[in-house]
């Protein structure tokens, strides 16, 4: 069953010098139990996208969407209050900095308890039992001790586990993890990622993994969406993206990370996209990647649309030919 369907979601930021489009007409679908990877660089709007689904945007940002369906209900038709309550019961978000998402003034137990009392109520005893269960499910071996501690007494990995436990308190159908492992050490990263994947599998909940690192997505995700400068550039199954990316940006992202066994050789260089990510108020005409794109052509000054490519997925590029009738240029390229 479909869990999340987003049609043409746009977010506009009203700055002092006029409105800026941060996310532009983004469309995505997620099924139950699916793990979707969203990849993008800083400032690409990937976090804003996640916040807009959760309804957590700042007041200076305005979200519009043709259709935003979460677990069978259209959020756009709800009032703000109903929406907040509904989203809180269906979805949860985990942030990059676990220390920042926990309140330093309260113990783990009181924070978990508060979340639980909002979501399921019950007596204090019941809530405590549930809290212990939750902590146990995120792989904490001695939850009784941990409950009495404050966030600053825990390591980053532990804090992130507590944050995940809090997110799980509402039994979410959709779990959004915004760079959940970026602030953690390498050895902890793998554990947290594994935990998230296992939890979403066992609960049949959707997991949206937002990151800037392809390596995190390669093993676990079903599909990947690539966001650049507020637009979805490519959206396809993970193996398609990794093995035969159709968008030059995806290709560049994959190539700019050293590959396995890529040793130091004199004169060897990584592929690097030139230039900078454009500022939101200085977007280029036409394709947003245009000025940096190694394959840019004349037609790239026109805005490309996100179109389906056969046996692949959706790509926003003039060079990835969508319909089967215009297959010629692809063949030419191959020659």
């Amino acid at each position: 069953m479909q869990l999340l369907r987003v049609e043409n979601l746009s977010v506009t930021y009203h700055s002092s010098s006029g409105p800026l489009s941060i996310v532009e007409r983004l469309s995505l679908k997620m099924d139950e139990g699916e793990i979707l990877g969203v990849i993008g660089e800083s400032g690409s709007g990937k976090s804003v996208f996640a916040l807009s689904i959760m309804g957590l945007l700042s007041t200076k940002m305005v979200m519009r969407a043709d259709y935003l369906n979460l677990d069978g209900e259209d959020l756009m038709k709800m009032s703000a209050m109903d929406r907040a309550v509904y989203v809180a019961s269906k979805a949860a978000i985990i942030f990059q900095e676990p220390q920042a998402s926990l309140n330093p003034c309260f113990t783990v137990s009181s924070q978990l308890d508060e979340t639980l009392s909002i979501h399921q109520g019950g007596t204090r005893k019941n809530r405590r039992v549930r809290a212990l269960e939750l902590l146990d499910s995120v792989g904490i071996t001695k939850p009784e001790i941990l409950l009495k501690l404050y966030p600053h007494q825990l390591s980053g990995g532990m804090n992130q586990r507590v944050a995940i436990a809090m997110a799980l308190a509402c039994k979410p159908r959709l779990l959004i993890a915004d760079e959940p492992t970026t602030a953690l050490d390498v050895t902890i990263q793998a554990q947290i990622l594994e935990l998230l994947v296992n939890l979403s599998q066992s609960e049949k909940a959707g997991l949206m993994l937002i990151t800037h690192d392809f390596a995190l997505l390669s093993e676990n995700t079903d599909r990947i969406g690539v966001i650049y400068s507020g637009q979805l550039m490519e959206h396809a199954a993970t193996e398609n993206i990794l093995n035969s990316p159709r968008h030059p940006y995806t290709r560049a992202l994959l190539d700019s990370v050293p590959q396995l066994g890529d040793r130091h050789v004199k004169g060897s260089r990584l592929f690097a996209l030139q230039g900078q990510i454009p500022a939101m108020d200085q977007l280029p005409v036409g394709c947003r990647l245009g000025p940096r794109c190694p394959k840019a052509e004349k037609q790239c000054v026109n805005k490309p649309e996100l179109l389906s490519v056969e046996n692949h997925g959706k790509v926003r590029c003039h060079l990835a030919k969508p319909s089967p009738t215009v297959k010629k240029p692809l063949e030419q390229e191959e020659q």
Binding site: Q274, G275, Q282
Partner: protein
């Protein structure tokens, strides 16, 4: 590597100060406050030429109401006080006196305070702690009370009042400077400059000082308004400027007996103090915002 696409080239790169100025002028309230303040400063500077009468010249027209009253005259726009002195002339001269004294006070307090603050921040734990405790001790007493105590010890009079207010203001400068520097020295660019082989003095002048300037400038404006207020307060209490001097506090204290039958003699100097302080504080707030954005 030279074919990197460049973004739009500005012809002239504005300096930090220019950027602050632009941010400041974007703030309408602060800009109008600055205009008001400049007007007051202009009046203060040109008071000998603007004032129609000598501020101490007495006349028979005592307690003449301001010109907008029915029986007021245009010869004395703000009216006269109990001794028949022209109030406008007195206030204009008082503006000159107040601003001059405040500038002097702030100059003393700032130079001593910033010097001491830098010294404490860069010296060892022991010196630092001792200085901070002394400053805390001074700050623990209400500033006006302290000024009164100091004047009581060294005797009333304008010069002594100035020293008293300056002493009261020094701890603020010390603390602001110290905390700003303590913040700065741990920043990576300071480390980077040490690694460039820079000596201590160069490090302070080039790297630390420009970056602690914003809080210091804000502190300067705050100190300026405090100085004006305290000098006026001491004048009002008869501990600062003495009777014939056209000092705002002194004018107030001379005329507060007449508050019922000649309210303008009290209201007008009060308003002068109020607007001066208001404009200075608004400018200070505007500066703070402007410089925070710059970073």
């Amino acid at each position: 590597m030279n074919n990197i696409p460049q973004f739009y080239q500005q012809r002239r790169i504005p300096s930090s100060a220019a950027r602050w100025w632009k941010n400041f002028t974007d703030n309408k309230l602060a800009t109008s406050a600055l205009l008001l303040l400049s007007l007051i400063i202009l009046i203060a500077i040109f008071s000998p030429f603007i004032a129609p009468y000598d501020p101490t010249l007495q006349s028979a027209d005592y307690l003449l109401p301001p010109s907008w009253y029915e029986d007021g005259t245009s010869a004395h726009i703000f009216g006269t006080d109990a001794l028949g002195r022209d109030l406008f002339s007195r206030l204009a001269h008082g503006a000159g006196l107040s601003l001059k004294l405040a500038t002097f006070v702030v100059a003393i307090a700032a130079s001593v305070g910033i010097f001491l603050g830098s010294l404490t921040a860069l010296s060892n734990q022991f010196v630092d702690q001792i200085t901070i405790r002394i400053m805390d001790l001074v700050l623990a007493l209400p500033s006006l009370l302290l000024a009164v105590v100091i004047v009581a010890i060294i005797g009333p009079g304008l010069p002594n009042a100035i020293y008293a207010v300056a002493i009261v203001l020094i701890p603020h400068f010390v603390l602001v400077t110290r905390s700003a520097i303590k913040n700065e020295v741990n920043k990576e660019y300071v480390t980077a400059m040490i690694l460039d082989g820079s000596g201590k003095i160069r490090l302070f002048c080039k790297s630390i000082f420009p970056n602690i300037l914003p809080p210091l400038i804000v502190q300067l404006t705050l100190a300026f308004s405090t100085a004006i207020l305290e000098i006026a307060a001491l004048g009002f209490l008869g501990l600062g400027a003495q009777a014939p001097h056209p000092e705002w506090g002194t004018i107030l204290s001379e005329s507060h007996n007449n508050i019922v039958n000649a309210p303008w003699t009290v209201t007008l100097p009060g308003l002068a103090i109020f607007f001066t302080l208001l404009s200075i504080n608004l400018v200070g707030d505007g500066l703070r915002d402007a410089m925070d954005l710059g970073n």
